[in-house]
Amino acid sequence: MTTQARIRNFSIIAHIDHGKSTLADRLLERTGAVSERDMREQVLDTMDLERERGITIKAQTVRLRHVDEAGEEYVLNLIDTPGHVDFSYEVSRSLAACEGALLLIDAAQGVQAQTLANAHLAIDAGLEVIPAINKIDLVAADPERVAGEIVNILGGAPDDIVRISAKTGAGVDELLRRLVEQVPAPAGDPNAPLRALVFDSYYDSYRGVVCYIRVVDGRLPTGQRIRSMATGEIHDANEIGVLTPAAESVSNLGAGEVGYLITGVKEIDRIKVGDTLTDSIRSATEPLPGYSEPKPMVFSGLFPTDGDDFERLREALEKLRLNDASLVYEPESSRALGFGFRCGFLGLLHMEIVRERLEREYDLDLVATAPSVAYRVTMPGGSVKEIKSPQDLPDSGALSGVAEPYVRTMILSPTEFVGPIMELVTNHRGEIGNMSYLGPERVELDCDIPLAEIVFGFFDQLKSRTRGYASLDYEPAGYREADLVKVDILLNGLPVDAFSAIVHKDKAQEYGKMMTGRLRSLIPRQLFDVPIQAAIGGRMISRETVKAKRKDVIAKCYGGDVTRKKKLLQKQKEGKKRMKMVGSVEVPQEAFVAALRVDDDQ
């Protein structure tokens, strides 16, 4: 156990690519946690996807031993946080385990919306925020401008902000000094009943669920019987330890300390992130604040291309969920796509990551339906039903109202793009609220936008209209009634549920035209004419036709050609296997993906 006064618990808050993982690498190196020999880039990002995309999905933690100039030894616990809006719940849990936060800002790009949102989370959580400007070695670096932006947000003096280069190591020692000086030591009561916050967990196939915990009050010795204050379940602390970053078991974790806990539990749901663990006998009365169930915001159906892979998909989802409690799913059947699962995700990135992991790590070929949000349907009797799939929307006669989720959106952008952004927000049925300046060149716009609009391409369009300079963050902002209709797409007269969408009445025509047009170019010509229609209820709003194919024959097939032509046709045949039969219409897998792609021409 470490003396409480010598512990500093902190996170690094940074936008994607602002250098958080590089700084973490440098801190590990400076404190000797990782020898230069073992240094590989982004030590803390362990998942392949994290390294490839340069983002952090799961929080990580590492204990660093730091000796200051006076020869005093400190324990620094770095709790890494995810940097994407989809994972803001995980960020808030990580921050709850800290007393301080390093706010890391790119010297060229300046403050970004997510950084700002997370900085606000840190301030609200009472953390000491230490700003640092990174990448000062870049040619495009403008630390003075960025310092001005930071002062506008946090106050203070521009000269007080540390300038560093995580890449070269410049300024890192100064940053460590401030960390020790400014971040308060943990304040918990070592003699009070045990309260430990679970701020993250993952599933290890050998050890079961491994929890990352922060002991707030009391002491957690190995072997302790502990009780989950969220579920009431009792577990044994079979092993506790710290990460240096290699796991090292210890006999005790005291107040203020951060480490891991293994109880032998195999199901990740049973010890939830945000839960408070206490002594099973000498229990605390109040749990630590802040536990809430992660709430999926975006829904999509995932279907195996090959119907025989349904069981494999189920197993893969079960395994992924072991590590990702925020992933929810239930079986769904689609007339067009067969059996699959309706999955709920924290956001679009989360959705994309899950799909990529399923395809890559579990070797599945998947079709994903258009992302949707959860609508609230008021029935004529006044009861309210939540629907997550367009198929479930009752006919307009059978309901008295539909409400859709809104998000409060914060957009940070150079001032020159304010016009295009306002236009974009309005086009997406958004309402523009406050506008405030972070500096002469940067503006913060607050808007309320339907989540469905965010899901359908808003972010990409924002990026393209602002040449990538604007950034976006959002939080749920309740439900609002709207004039929504379900647009069905019919292939050869049969509705294809995968293409149905709930859209605003004013945009139904546009959606119908876009979908029928796209499908006409994506569906290969068949033996018959294939009409493609968009309809609201029984009313057609758009129609296209894929004309029947007329010629599909090799001109010559003589003695010299038999084997070659056979191989050629066999190859074409393999290509056809990737088609889904929708009624009697063959639809290529790619058509589902491409038709549902969200992009600018929408």
Partner: protein, 390 residues
């Protein structure tokens, strides 16, 4: 047994002559231009290769294809033909075919070739429209086609065929109608009409990739229908996807292939089907020559066709014929399959008089892909094959 299936019992031989005066931009066969100095060496190699093959008994048909067989001196063709005669024997009344370019076919040349023993000539006419001929890289004009057909007739060559290519991007409906009428006017016994196909690796393909117009399949479908209407009206019946003829003038060598009959093959890039094995020769001319010079058969690869594959193969080659294929386990399997049902509903295939026929030949590949996916019915047993068919 339908007469077309009788060719199952035929014995045929193909001889590849790769030499051309120039290579046409659409051609993806094993051809060579500007290599005339190698003709004699090549003929010697073909003669050696014939000697290395198992003697077979009299051949029912012999086919010299290319390349441009008419580009090499008749004496060279004669030496090869004599070798085939000596080695296997050529049956009385056997069909002996030669592919020829109109510009090579003077009256004197026609007489020589007839004398040597060729009784069928297939002319690479391609079009009667000068602009189309030029686009196709051909070196002859329409008048030479007329003259060469007349020369062949004059030399009493008993069966004359004309090949046409349709759907070249600059061809119009009028131009195609004119080519068809001219071909009919030349009065051959047999007409082949091929849709221009952009084959990978050809100059045509490179041009298309670079932005040149590609043949339009719908336009080609229209042109095909024009061909069918004109030729049928002029007394030519269609007996295969791309082949029409007057009664009795079907190409016997090709009928052998489509009936799953056996054929030997000699020359670079040549393919054979013998004793249940489909095999092919090395394609490169130099590699072919050195293999044969080393005393080896110049085989590049071989696939035995056995068991259920034999039935699939029978449908694959046979369904290109208008007469289709006789009933059998593969046919039953196809008509009972989901794809087969769809093809029947769309009028692409039909059971007729105990045979399965393709009614919409322009969609034959759809049928073929379905055929290639067929699996043996449960309980299917390979019929016993006689030890020695021949």
């Amino acid at each position: 047994m339908s007469p077309v299936d009788a060719h199952l019992d035929a014995r045929s031989a193909y001889v590849h002559i790769p030499f051309c005066s120039s290579v046409c931009p659409y051609c993806d066969f094993a051809v060579v231009a500007g290599a005339d100095h190698m003709i004699d060496r090549y003929a010697d190699a073909v003669i050696s290769e014939i000697g290395m093959s198992q003697p077979w008994g009299p051949l029912n048909s012999v086919y010299f294809g290319g390349g441009t067989p008419s580009h090499v001196p008749p004496s060279v063709l004669g030496r090869i033909l004599t070798t085939l005669q000596d080695h296997h024997g050529i049956g009385a009344g056997a069909e002996v075919s030669l592919e020829a370019n109109p510009e090579d076919f003077s009256e004197a040349r026609a007489g020589e070739l007839s004398q040597i023993g060729f009784n069928r000539v297939s002319f690479g006419a391609q079009s009667f429209d000068r602009a189309v001929l030029e686009a196709l890289g051909r070196r002859h004009g329409p008048e030479q086609i007329m003259a060469s057909v007349a020369a062949a007739r004059g030399a009493a060559i008993g069966s004359i065929s004309v090949d046409l290519i349709f759907g070249t991007p600059l061809e119009t409906d009028q131009s195609w109608a004119h080519s068809l009428l001219s071909a009919i006017e030349a009065s051959p016994d047999h007409v082949s009409c091929y849709a221009l196909t952009v084959e990978p690796g050809t100059p045509l393909n490179r041009a298309v990739i670079a932005g040149a117009a590609a043949p339009d399949p719908d336009v080609q479908a229209d042109r095909y229908e024009m061909a069918q209407a004109s030729l049928e009206a002029a007394g030519y019946h269609r007996y295969e996807v791309s082949n029409w003829c007057r009664p009795g003038h079907e190409c016997r060598y090709n009928l052998t292939v489509w009936a799953q009959g056996q054929y030997e093959a000699y020359g670079n890039g040549a393919h054979r089907f013998r004793d249940g094995v489909r095999s092919r020769n090395v394609r490169r001319l130099d590699a072919y020559l050195s293999e044969v010079a080393a005393g080896r058969r110049p085989i590049a690869g071989a696939e035995p066709v056995t068991g259920w594959d034999t039935e699939i193969d029978r449908l694959f080659v046979g369904l290109r014929r208008s007469a289709g294929v006789s009933d059998g386990p593969g046919v039953q399997s196809l008509v009972g399959s989901a794809e087969g049902k769809l093809l029947q509903e769309a009028g692409v295939i039909e059971m007729s008089g105990g045979r399965l026929v393709v009614r919409r030949p322009l969609l034959t590949d759809e049928v073929h892909r379905a055929v290639l996916g067929l699996e043996a019915p449960i309980g299917w047993v390979e019929p016993p094959t006689p030890d020695n068919v021949w």
